[in-house]
Symmetry: C2
DNA sequence: GTCTATACAACGATAGAC
DNA sequence: GTCTATCGTTGTATAGAC
């Protein structure tokens, strides 16, 4: 962000207010998705959440799917910057784990994981949503992937646990837990703790003595699936 | 199953064909849910999939939500029997893991995991679906939970990895991966392999020498979250 | 760019003939 | 129990006034 300039100019350039409206629609889409889910989201419910006219959905984005796609990608891009910087600071698996928990709590509280989960559910039967969600998900996994890659660079687990796959598996688990939350909040919380305990197991394995590491690698490779 | 009796009697008691129709509707609901997702499922799409009249949805189940709920619970109950028996045969974590993979492949192929995922997505904004999905999910986790409980009875991991939570975490992961499959099939596959590798890590930890087990337990307890 | 008005399809749900 | 027919609502999408 550049430092502010003199006069209290209006928030945007005011090209006929269109940019503000686009912004409202993008936010409204996320709000509606969180409130009604992919099953209940519509041009009307989005417009209501955005506080604008329903016809503007089609004027600015052409269709509801297109708006949902744009909203999902936009929010992911905005979050991505924040993520990358904070994850770059982690120097051990333990720090990464602690940081991940905090980031996950933030995103869950803001409803962004919920948005992703709903988009993924819609993506199963809607190619347009699938395309957009795929892009959005890459934005979320890539900083985690980069961090893992860095921290596991010298680990014996590296050629047993494929790093990109590990990042994806973790992402999938967090999304699964988000959905689980809706039907069993207490159970989802304790499941989350257990997920973390298992992650600690990875960390422990990574801190083994050189001899123990070699032994572990042998065992894991012997049982490598597929 | 009792052994068959003499005459080739009709498949059901034929109380005006109603039971057959109910069955068709239940199957149709699952089919429609798999094909159109929770966002696109409707009384009409279900009736089409079932090959019956649309009005019968309301005659037999009162509402679409009610039918979806019944379908989800019914398919889970039917699967539950199969599961319980096969899981009871596992005598080691390794066997449990292999069996789980096979069961998961079967259920994914039949589209049952997809149904569960779509129901969970809908459940986030629909209390009726939430109630039903909660019941259905318990049917899936409980046999896994019982098996884990049995196999980990004497494990040092037992008071660190809460067994019911472990079963839930695994379920959530499988559901998350199912959704991931829709936007990145190759990525989801490799993520699944990694999930299994991590599971093997649990198994390895469980096979440690008594002394190593104690040391591990100390580490894990020290880092117990929350 | 934004609004009102409207076309038209699909939705849940019910009434009534069979 | 099952069907046809239909009501009222809500959905996407567009035309045209402002």
């Amino acid at each position: 962000m550049l430092s502010d300039r003199s006069t209290p100019s209006p928030p945007t350039y005011d090209l006929g207010v269109s940019i503000e409206t686009r912004r409202k629609l993008l936010d409204g889409a996320l709000l509606a998705l969180r409130e009604h889910g992919v099953a209940g989201v519509s041009a009307r419910s989005i417009a209501a959440a955005a506080g604008v006219n329903q016809a503007l959905v089609f004027y600015h984005f052409g269709s509801v799917d297109e708006l949902l796609s744009a909203a999902c990608i936009t929010v992911s891009e905005e979050r991505f910057t924040n993520y990358g910087q904070r994850l770059a600071e982690a120097t051990t698996l333990r720090e990464l784990l602690d940081l991940s928990r905090r980031l996950h709590e933030e995103e869950t509280a803001e409803g962004n994981i919920s948005v992703l989960a709903q988009m993924l559910a819609g993506a199963r039967t809607n190619p347009r949503l699938a395309e957009a969600t795929s892009q959005a998900l890459k934005l979320w996994t890539s900083p985690v992937e980069a961090t893992l890659e860095r921290l596991l660079a010298t680990s014996p687990l590296r050629d047993v646990l494929d790093v990109p796959s590990l990042a994806r598996a973790a992402t999938a688990t967090l999304i699964g837990l988000e959905l689980y939350q809706g039907v069993d909040p207490a159970g989802a919380d304790s499941a989350f703790s257990t997920f973390e305990q298992v992650a600690v197991l990875v960390e422990v394995a990574d801190n083994l003595s050189p001899m123990a590491k070699r032994a572990l690698r042998t065992i894991l490779n012997r049982r490598k699936p597929r």
